[in-house]
Amino acid sequence: MGNSRNEMKKYLRLFNISFQQEFAYRLNFILWRARNVMQILIFFFLWDAIFSGGATQIFGYDKAKIFTYAFALIIVRAIVMSSRSADVAGQIANGELSNLLLKPINYFSYWLTRDLSSKFLNILFSIFETVVLVLILKPNVFIQTNPVYLISFTLALIIAMFIYFTTIMMTSFVPFWVPEIVWGAQFLVIVIVVEFLSGAFLPLDIFPPTVYQILRFTPFPYLIFIPIKIYLGNFDYSMVIQSLIIGTAWCWVLWRIVNYIWKKGLLVYEGVGR
């Protein structure tokens, strides 16, 4: 099929050029990676201090599992939360979006491809960072070997990437209506809501059970916490399946919402400044 081959070529070329572009901003990239490592270190030392009090288990976590959580965080964050689509809001506000709209390419596929290229680079670095940190800190890290958990973990990661993508897109569309709010909406949503409620700061099951039960039905834990829990083998199989179903449902709901907002946004798009 010549047609689908051409489609593939489009996105491979885009992946390639996007990857090159990442390298053009080396300092930016290094700072972003440094921030990720810092976050892991804080997490690590905080929990190291807690366990040094003599406890062997806290909130159902022993030392090995909490440290595994910390290191899984590096990789899961790199996979889920590294993206280029953070540029979308700026593009809408300054009219650069016009360039993309003129091209015979699907808008969402364009950004998904650019995200994947960014993730690819970030994953390479995160693996390197993890190895270095493990060698330095010498923690007990739990290696999952059960294939059911490993496959479920992979599925959970795909769900997480998609939920993150749609969430970022949604907040990025705000400038269609309020061009001044380029970073405000993203900061609020990503830093405060997403980072905190996703489990990027602490495992969510240390919250009171009611809070945790409510959170399970929001999309946020499916970004970080639930994929890691599945990897750690903390969920029984029925819980794993339940989680994958809720996550998939959220993907569908968010995708519908994003498409709706996008179509509405294009109607009021002014392509200013260009």
Partner: protein, 334 residues
């Protein structure tokens, strides 16, 4: 004719209206905070029922003062803006649907726009466009070579874009926009910011592209030379309304309300009295240039000959540049 060609209109615009909602904001921080809670919206009517059609292969100059709605029209025709009302069709497509078949046949090039990947050599953008527009290898190589030769950018395509000069970048932009050989080309200020030689090159290129591929071109410009060298037909809009649509030369017939009398005087006396003839545009003895209302030209000339020591006299049309300048200043009225 016994048969008609497959398509006899490249562009159809019928009573096109485009309005924007603009939120009003008071100055300063308090204004900004206030606007968060209650924003006063004002409707700006950028286009008010514009209609025109363009044949395949036509090269049309689209002129008017800043804010007249030229760029808005181009953006609407390219499918970027959603028309408030009215009908538009480009190559038998509704632009707003932005179907791949449509997008593969058009290009919109804007003076300040940058589709090039800033940190990478332009060739990377070209390669990306080749993939996106699904240009077959043979065509791509031919088109690229042709554009590179015509625009003389061969040595520059491997240089990171940010290291290029504005003129070089503009030529790269044009190359990126034309690799897929669009049949309809929307050019917004294609020579803005270029030096004289650069402008000339750009004009030559546009002229050739139009001729060679029978491409339909709609261009806006504030550059007099762009218009007089390229456009046989001009469309004038102001405040979102169409003022004129026709041959370049006809602009004068329609809008030159005055004629110019040039006279050479024998003696320097009764100069003051010249003011009774018409508006003195220039007076440097022995030469005087007076503009008079069109219909009063004959009377004014006779009066001048009778009452003044005239040695030579000619009657001329207002220069086209003056008319265009008036267009740009928004001084033409229906």
């Amino acid at each position: 004719m016994l048969y008609t060609t497959a398509m006899d209109k490249a562009i159809i615009v019928d009573r096109l209206v485009k309005s924007f909602e603009v939120s009003q904001k008071e100055p300063g921080l308090t204004g900004a905070i206030k606007s968060l809670f209650s924003s006063k919206k004002k409707t700006v009517r950028a286009l008010r029922e514009i209609s025109f059609t363009i044949q395949p292969g036509e090269l049309v100059g689209f002129i008017g003062p800043n804010g007249a709605g030229k760029t808005t029209t181009l953006k609407t025709l390219s499918g970027l803006l959603y028309p408030t009302s009215g009908f538009i069709e480009v190559l038998e497509h509704n632009p707003w649907e932005r179907k791949p078949e449509f997008l593969k046949q058009i290009a919109l090039v804007m003076g300040q726009k940058n589709q090039l990947w800033w940190d990478l050599p332009a060739i990377e953008t070209f390669e990306l466009n080749r993939a996106i527009y699904e240009i077959p290898t043979k065509n791509y190589n031919d088109n690229l070579k042709e554009l590179v030769d015509l625009l003389e950018i061969g040595k520059l395509i491997n240089t990171p874009v940010r290291k290029l000069s504005l003129g070089q970048r503009m030529r790269m932009e044009l190359t990126a926009a034309l690799l897929h050989k669009p049949k309809v080309l929307f050019l917004d200020e294609p020579t803005i910011g270029l030096d004289i030689i650069g402008q000339q090159k750009m004009r030559d290129f546009i002229y050739d592209y139009n001729r060679k591929y029978n491409a339909t071109i709609l261009l806006t410009s504030h550059n007099m030379d762009d218009l007089s060298n390229l456009a046989r037909r001009v469309i004038v809009i102001d405040a979102g309304q169409l003022l004129f649509d026709g041959a370049f030369e006809e602009l004068i017939a329609k809008f030159a309300k005055e004629k110019i009398i040039k006279a050479t005087l024998g003696r320097e006396d009764n100069i003051k009295g010249l003011e009774s003839i018409g508006k003195i545009r220039k007076l440097s003895f022995p030469e005087v240039i007076i503009s008079v209302p069109r219909e009063a030209t004959a009377v004014a000339a006779a009066e001048l000959l009778q009452n003044f020591p005239v040695e030579d006299l000619t009657i001329e049309e207002v220069p086209i540049e003056d008319i265009i300048r008036k267009v740009f200043r928004g001084e033409l009225k229906k």
